[in-house]
Symmetry: C2
DNA sequence: TCAAAAGTCAAGTGTTTTACTCGACTATTG
DNA sequence: CAATAGTCGAGTAAAACACTTGACTTTTGA
């Protein structure tokens, strides 16, 4: 039940792009440097995000990555699905429950279903826009505390 | 973000014990057979559950495992913690957030905290007693459907 | 009293997943 | 046309997972 670095780094990268939304493309190197992530690894994650239609790119000089939509219109659920393939906590939740032989008799399944629906609710209602606002707020508070 | 077999098997084993609550000890072999889990692996899980005070044992002939309390008084959170060590989705939630260098500036952290509190709420409010009832209900329904 | 039934424990092992890296390539632009 | 920037597939070391093994100890009933 641990979050992978893929999800975490990917989310942070998308928030980084959100911070520059409307300002033109941001290069991979810039995002990697800002977030302290290896360029080669981040590129893989960006590829997934691109395939999922969350980011788009321009090549050549002054090229880079951009969000395809406003940050408020990108959900965390969508982003995480792009990065990790699925956000399902078990194979017996979700559409293809047939993978679990005794899905209908396993005593843990009702719990899994309840948990999954609560998790999905949070991931669906939270947007990249919100995470970005939180992040900016947080940085302001730290700056303020440091100065006093 | 996948549930391990430790958690799943362990939960199922505890529910199995709950089904026989008040009827004296159930042997490891019996639980393993009923749930289709390897005895040797299950023994490991039972050990964790014992150390956590969720089950107790009697040795020798006719010995086996018993719950230390009524099923309604054992939460899923407690059980899962015993089995998996922790139910935290990331190192930066929970008491020791210092393991994450940039805990206070990571833009994913607010999401993690929200998610974790929702997950814990479910795990805390759900008891082994409830899972056991659900399971018995479910088996009845299947039996009924099969006969008609 | 001793053998069979049952739990206890630490260590070992094969497989899978994670978290990366590497190198060769393509597109764009000043 | 060369420098900049994204694209792609494959490779790899380390960790986590899902077990197995074997050598014990404890209890009890015949």
């Amino acid at each position: 039940m641990k979050f992978s670095t893929k999800g975490t780094y990917g989310l942070r990268a998308v928030v980084e792009l959100a911070k520059h939304y409307g300002e033109g493309p941001v290069s991979l190197a810039a995002v990697a440097a800002e977030q302290g992530i290896s360029e080669a690894y981040l590129e893989q994650l960006m590829r997934s995000l691109k395939n999922a239609g969350i980011v788009k790119t321009t090549r050549g000089k002054a090229g880079g990555y951009l969000l395809t939509r406003e940050p408020q219109r990108i959900s965390v659920l969508e982003t995480l699905r792009a990065l990790e393939g699925s956000t399902d906590i078990a194979d017996c939740v979700g559409s293809d429950a047939s993978v679990c032989e005794n899905a209908c008799t396993c005593s843990a399944r009702p719990l899994f279903l309840k948990l999954q629906s609560r998790i999905n609710a949070v991931l669906e209602e939270t947007t990249i826009g919100e995470l970005t606002e939180d992040h900016i707020e947080q940085k302001k508070r730290i700056e303020h505390a440091r100065l006093s």
